[in-house]
Assembly symmetry: C2
Homo-oligomer: 363 residues x 2
Amino acid sequence: MKKITVNLGKRSYQIIIGYKIINLLSGYLKKLNLTESSVVITNARIKKIIGIKLINVLKSANISYRFKTVPDSEKSKSQAIAFKLIDRISYFTKLKTPFIIALGGGVVGDLAGFIASVYKRGIPYIQIPTTLLAQVDSSIGGKVGIDLAYGKNLVGSFYQPRLVLSDIALLNTLPKKQVISGLAEVIKYGLIKDKVLFEYIEKNYQRISGLERPSLEYIINKCALIKADIVTQDEKETKGVRTILNFGHTIAHAIEAAGNFKAYNHGQAVGLGMLAAAEISLDLGLLSSKETISRIKDLLFSVGLPVKLKGLSIERIIKALAFDKKFIRGKNRFVLLKNIGQAVIREDIPVLVIRRALKKIIC
Amino acid sequence: MKKITVNLGKRSYQIIIGYKIINLLSGYLKKLNLTESSVVITNARIKKIIGIKLINVLKSANISYRFKTVPDSEKSKSQAIAFKLIDRISYFTKLKTPFIIALGGGVVGDLAGFIASVYKRGIPYIQIPTTLLAQVDSSIGGKVGIDLAYGKNLVGSFYQPRLVLSDIALLNTLPKKQVISGLAEVIKYGLIKDKVLFEYIEKNYQRISGLERPSLEYIINKCALIKADIVTQDEKETKGVRTILNFGHTIAHAIEAAGNFKAYNHGQAVGLGMLAAAEISLDLGLLSSKETISRIKDLLFSVGLPVKLKGLSIERIIKALAFDKKFIRGKNRFVLLKNIGQAVIREDIPVLVIRRALKKIIC
């Protein structure tokens, strides 16, 4: 079992990573003084798999609980669902201020965290991430939010959880597609910050895809350490440090939006977005060799991620880009690569260059 | 002109109080680096009065602007209106991240601040309060939020403005009822923190009600200083300092909710709530003399606030109390008086005592 601390003064919290560790939850909740009533936000699939175990833990800690399930889809990050849940919570917790347990992947975490951030001007929440993507990335750092018609996460805030409990055993029940989706973020950490991690995945991708426990533990711990370090330095993404976590994401969000969140899932879009960002880096002379692009492409392909964009026009993606939060104040801002393990930020990338990069990855 | 600083580290900001000072805005915006595009959230009445002046200031500063008006009613603090505005903002500001100008009373300030707090995980906003209530209280301190069916401000956060610009000249156009409503909060500051202020109002209530400039300046500055000091000590109401600002408000919120936000406006409800809290204080032996209650009642009556509750049953108010945020974790918590100018916090006030106090103020 590994413990990582996200150091944010009064908002500090621990990330616990281990195998079959759900039963440790009651001890942590007690330490955090979260002892009265809880609302578990999850989806039906996860509830079926781990619901009873979690209920037993909460019962043993004498914590009352209510489960609220939402569809297992990005569409759950909506104003309608968020406020329906808030209405239910305000109704059934009446006199008590509950804490929220986000039991699920990125969608559940972002939604539940958003609800916690605004209900009664903020109530505590904890993350129990059940997907690889959530364990290595979205459960850590307090980015919470819901989507609008004009783009993902347009409504939200920075609101830290009180605890992240990552049980690796939960990944065994994960659909293959979601494991692959999470691997895109793992590869991202390697590309922006850690060449050793990137090379570890190159050598061990079969073990990882096969969900072998030691390699899973290795990569999840590595990624969580990187994320915790970055969040500690730049909690609210105001210092340009946290920005590098968006590597591949600017174009990924546009790909997701252009495909109505159906054509590509988040991980697939991130893979393609990273490839496009690498092409931009090469085009601008930041990356010195084409070979690096081949290495990235090969690794994405090996883990089962798409390396060609199909069924979407460049124009639709460019249009969706214009609504991205990361296109601040009219200027665009991209995270690019100088090397594997070394990211840089560049502003004002000409649309022409973006188009050229998209052309390279389109079928 | 007076300047007060709310000291909150990186979130510090100034409160500027003066007569006909709207034209100073461009200089402050420049200092704050708010120089691109703005969205002005206001209501039709205020827009008519001050809209052109504000537009001229924004034009002279080369800041683009869009006005969005909302109905002048508590009902504007709704999920539907908040998200309609967010949708419009995300549509018409497209590539640019705007800042928001909250131009209005408490409703506009709370709503606009809430929108600023969640749009793109937080954009800057400034307050130009146009009512006495907003100038002395709600525009300062970053409490933003919207209402739910089950109670006021159930969704929101603590999100500080970048500037508060209180132009006393704006109060000249205020309906009499709203001036009176604001005076309830002014009296509150005297009761909880400043006997001198309370006695000043006792002596000068006619000058204040007549909107004479020196007495208005005196009370607004006094109140803003008290509020700024309290917010500086306890930004997020976690240390029990800010709590005293809720004097009268626990019961006031219940009165407003029980009357469907129609029977009594906020100031009227606060007046009655303070009276009820004073009765509880007397009942519990905190206040030593009945005479203090008479003084409070006389002053409320003098400024035109109700001193008797009509048309609502005690049971409805008790029921509405149960949904108030201030009834934390099943315990209730009341701000009570030991003296004029001296507030104390007490928990677990028996419902019996609350009922007895309500009986004293009911017709």
